[in-house]
Subunit: 200 residues, 2 copies
DNA sequence: ACCTGAACACCGTTCAAGT
DNA sequence: ACCTGAACACCGTTCAAGT
């Protein structure tokens, strides 16, 4: 707090816009993100954001970046402590992914939205891949310990990613609850059974 | 053709709007659907659609309905002829799903969009479930022939659906091509291995 | 019964002008 | 260097008025 109220120059409007946007995303369900409302809540004119972002797509891309970093963090936090990885530890990672997506659903949808993609920011792809690599490394580790079948680890990681992505979105859409109990656990387990080395 | 050009009353504007909308969806990639452009291309004022649809969400819901019907049709068309279902036949269904989604990507995205969901039309859920049941029946059939493990068929079908949904979207987003060759085939195969009864 | 035309409240974006 | 205010071209939606 500078003491004087409402200085002409904000100070760090760029950062303020991003954090305010994140707050807005965490609030309403199925909410429409508008630059003008963001500017309003940040206490500036609707033209001010254009001094910090090329356009709306560029701002969305920046938010997507933050989203992928948070997703990566959530996955790393759920990494199993035991490298031998029993099925439950692997499952926990998957559930952490779905939990992240469904409890940050506006952000999660934004991360993959064509609007955010419109900026064509290569960093978004990089960060998406960085999050994916947490899965990939876990798969590789699982193969090394002889727990997972020694096929192409990238293929197995892709199978996990697509499974978790679809599971997250369909869960958020409320389409799975009526079909089976605990859909996330069930679906992930079905996939794991394909990855695992068959046991006696 | 009535002979007279541009009659005041369209005749079947409702149907014309839907088919024109479908055409628009099949054209551009990453296209923004606006009611006004739809009206323009249908040759009517932007207020005319409101005589046939409550609002934009209602029209989107109607399109989503058609989309789920088309998806169901695509799945039924790819149904394996042999009820014993070797892995390849099952895989073909999955690839048909992904092919439908990626080659009708605007429609596919629309089917799950929050905008279309805003209408809260219960028929959308019904049709989504009807498409899902094609998968479910195939799973049940696979269990009966002893090809798939006898676990909860709904759980297995959910695992397939989420896998295919995620695969479709991430493929359309162009995120998988750089990770592994033929991601759809690979990812679906990994899942099938989990569903199958282990063989000697 | 169905469509038009004008109006309203919103957007995203731009740009001269202010501090 | 950063923000404002007014302007422009667009939306979705409504409603009296036309046919």
């Amino acid at each position: 707090m500078k003491g004087t109220a409402k200085p002409y120059h904000h100070g760090d409007l760029r950062r303020a816009l991003l954090t305010t946007a994140m707050e807005m995303l965490s609030e309403d369900q199925g909410w429409q993100f508008t630059l003008r409302e963001l500017a309003r809540r940040a206490g500036v004119t609707h033209a001010a954001p254009y001094k910090h972002f090329d356009d709306k797509a560029a701002l969305l891309a920046e938010l997507a970046l933050l989203g992928f970093d948070k997703l990566r963090g959530a996955l790393r936090a759920a990494l199993p402590s035991d490298p031998a990885m029993p099925r439950e530890a692997f499952l926990a990672m998957g559930l952490a992914y779905v939990a992240f997506g469904t409890s940050n659903i506006n952000l999660y949808r934004l991360m993959w939205s064509t609007d955010a993609r419109a900026a064509n920011d290569p960093r978004v792809l990089e960060r998406a891949n960085a999050a994916f690599e947490v899965l990939l490394n876990l798969i590789k580790q699982g193969q090394q310990t002889g727990w997972l079948s020694a096929r192409d680890p990238a293929g197995q990681a892709v199978a996990c990613w697509t499974q978790l992505h679809g599971l997250t979105l369909l869960t958020a859409d409320g389409l799975l609850a009526s079909l089976t109990a605990d859909p996330a656990r069930v679906a992930i387990t079905e996939l794991i059974m394909g990855l695992e080395v068959p046991r006696a």
